[in-house]
């Protein structure tokens, strides 16, 4: 069965600093990988997804993620964060269904 592990439960950063949210996956078959964002009291919004092809995936709001098969990782990055990026971020893996990581709470401070 597939699963994902988000290595950091909370990541505090200052505005305009770079950020990396870490995600490792485990699967015995080829899978698809996703990053979702959830703003306070709102639903899930897809940031980006990796299906195949280029290992560097660009998403919305300036986020990107890199699929690394040898390290079974799919870390999310943004070169310069804004206050408005404060939210919960979920890494997920899809195959027959979708499984989510525990989430990383990104807090951007002024």
């Amino acid at each position: 069965a597939q699963s994902v592990t988000q290595l950091d439960s909370q990541v505090p950063v200052f505005e305009e600093a770079p950020v990396e949210l870490r995600c490792n996956y485990s699967s015995s078959v080829s899978v698809y990988l996703f990053w979702y964002v959830q703003y306070p009291n709102q639903g899930l919004q897809l940031l980006l997804k990796y299906l195949s092809g280029s290992t560097l995936v660009k998403g919305i709001n300036g986020f990107e993620a890199e699929f690394n098969k040898s390290q079974t990782s799919f870390h999310l990055r943004k070169p310069s964060v804004h206050i408005s990026d404060t939210a919960e971020y979920f890494c997920a893996v899809g195959h027959n269904d979708m499984r989510f990581g525990a989430g990383t709470r990104l807090t951007v401070k002024p």
């Binding site: 639903g43 899930l44 997804k49 299906l51 979920f90 899809g94 027959n96 979708m98 989510f100 525990a102």
Partner: protein
């Protein structure tokens, strides 16, 4: 992608009662999924509902507590039975985009925020 209408958006219920959540999709989909998101937690898959067969439940979830119906390819319901305060969560339905390869595209409903008092 598919558009999901999930109702109710929120409810406050008395313990011991049951609540049925509806999920309507604007296109025919094979796979429908129900998730629970407890306060401050991630999403946990409750069950997978396929039309014409019984739902498949994940470990820790049972049909008596969370009965699911899937009468056709555009509709499903999840019932939270004999509720207790521990059932207070957001419940979300999700579908697999029929125009995507298997496992590559999902759409989520806006969720039902349930509070049990």
């Amino acid at each position: 992608s598919a558009v999901i209408s999930q109702k109710p958006s929120r409810d406050i219920c008395q313990r011991g009662t049951s609540l049925t959540i509806q999920c309507q999709v604007d296109s025919q989909v094979t796979m429908m999924f129900w998730y629970r998101q407890q306060p401050g937690q991630s999403l946990t898959l409750i069950a997978t509902a396929n039309q014409g067969s019984e739902a498949t439940y994940e470990s820790g979830f049972v049909i008596d507590k969370f009965p699911i119906s899937r009468p056709n390819l555009t509709f499903s319901t999840l019932t939270v039975s004999n509720m207790s305060p521990e059932d207070s969560s957001i419940y979300l339905c999700s579908v697999e985009d029929p125009r995507s390869d298997r496992g590559s595209g999902y759409t989520f409903g806006s969720g039902t925020r349930l509070t049990v008092v």
